[in-house]
Every structure is written in structure tokens, then in C-alpha cells.
Symmetry: C2
Subunit: 94 residues, 2 copies
């Protein structure tokens, strides 16, 4: 299992547009092979900050996700409204 934590922050004033774009990829992503979970969270104290909590069967399934049409389109649509993007690909350690 591959765990992914992605911390995405919108530029001020663009948070609702980013939120809509992030929500739009949830259902198609959950339908992808090897997707164990793909859940979106928001920081109530910093409304521009969103966090995806993801779990994938393998690095190959994750790579296929990264190449998927819906994710590629979302990245293109949001690249100019992101303030920061940190993606942690993690191994279980407990």
C-alpha cells in the first residue's frame, strides 16, 4: 500500500475555484483500479488549504492515476491558482 498526503493551498481569493476543481476529480479517482481511498479535507483555520488523504495498492496504480485524463485536466485548470503544492508519498511505519 502506498499512502499519499497532498497539501494544496490556493492563492487568496481562488480557494472556492480550487475546491470545485479538487472535488471534481474525487469520484473518477475513486473509480480507478487500485484506489483504496481518496478523501479531501479542508483546514477550517486556513480556508485556502486543502489536503488529500490517499491510499493506493501500488506505486504503479499511483503512477497511472497521475497520468489519468481527469487529474491531468485538473492540474492544467488549477496550475495558475495554486500558491503551494506539497505531495508526500509515504510508507507505513507503525
Amino acid at each position: 500500500m502506498v499512502k499519499v498526503i497532498a497539501v494544496l493551498t490556493a492563492q487568496e481569493g481562488h480557494e472556492e475555484k480550487l475546491f470545485e476543481a479538487l472535488k471534481s476529480v474525487i469520484e473518477p479517482t475513486r473509480a480507478e483500479p487500485g484506489c483504496f481511498h481518496y478523501d479531501l479535507y479542508r483546514d477550517p483555520k486556513t480556508p485556502t488549504r486543502f489536503v488529500f488523504d490517499e491510499a493506493w495498492e501500488s506505486a504503479e496504480h499511483l503512477a497511472a492515476h497521475a497520468r489519468s485524463a481527469h487529474l491531468t485536466a485538473m492540474r492544467e485548470a488549477t496550475k495558475d491558482i495554486l500558491a503551494s503544492r506539497e505531495v508526500f508519498v509515504l510508507d507505513r511505519a507503525s
Copy 2:
């Protein structure tokens, strides 16, 4: 439900000591009231980086955890070996 993602990075050379300290609080934390999950992950590409994925029944349960003896002791024992500490307290948004 309150979700917490904590990203903790050790100073170079102190990662194994941090890892041991983080592991030491897992069982006592999982035994705390209102702890849904408390899982530790490590970044294989950046071995100094650790991520806790936590879920708590309420903000009050999370606050009690923050005051717990084992967490307080661990924070004291690791405060001089941390390079960075980012804690995101999140609401479910999907």
C-alpha cells in the same frame, strides 16, 4: 470527527532517535478515549520526514491527547532534534 495530519522532520542524523520517540507514543495514544486512528508513516525519499495520520472523535478528545503525559514527554524529549513540525487540523470536505 477531527482529522490531523502532522508532518515532522528530524534534523539530519537524529532521524532514528525521532523515529523511536514517535513510535513510543503510538500504543498509549491509540488507547486514549476518542482516538479513531493514529498511524505513523515515513517518507522513503526523505528518511528524516515522518507523518502522523490521526482521527479523533472531537476537538476535546484531541485537546486531551495534546495534554497527555506520554505526548508531553515525547515533545520535551524531541524538541531539540526537530527541524520542522507542521500540524494540520482538518475537516472532512468530500
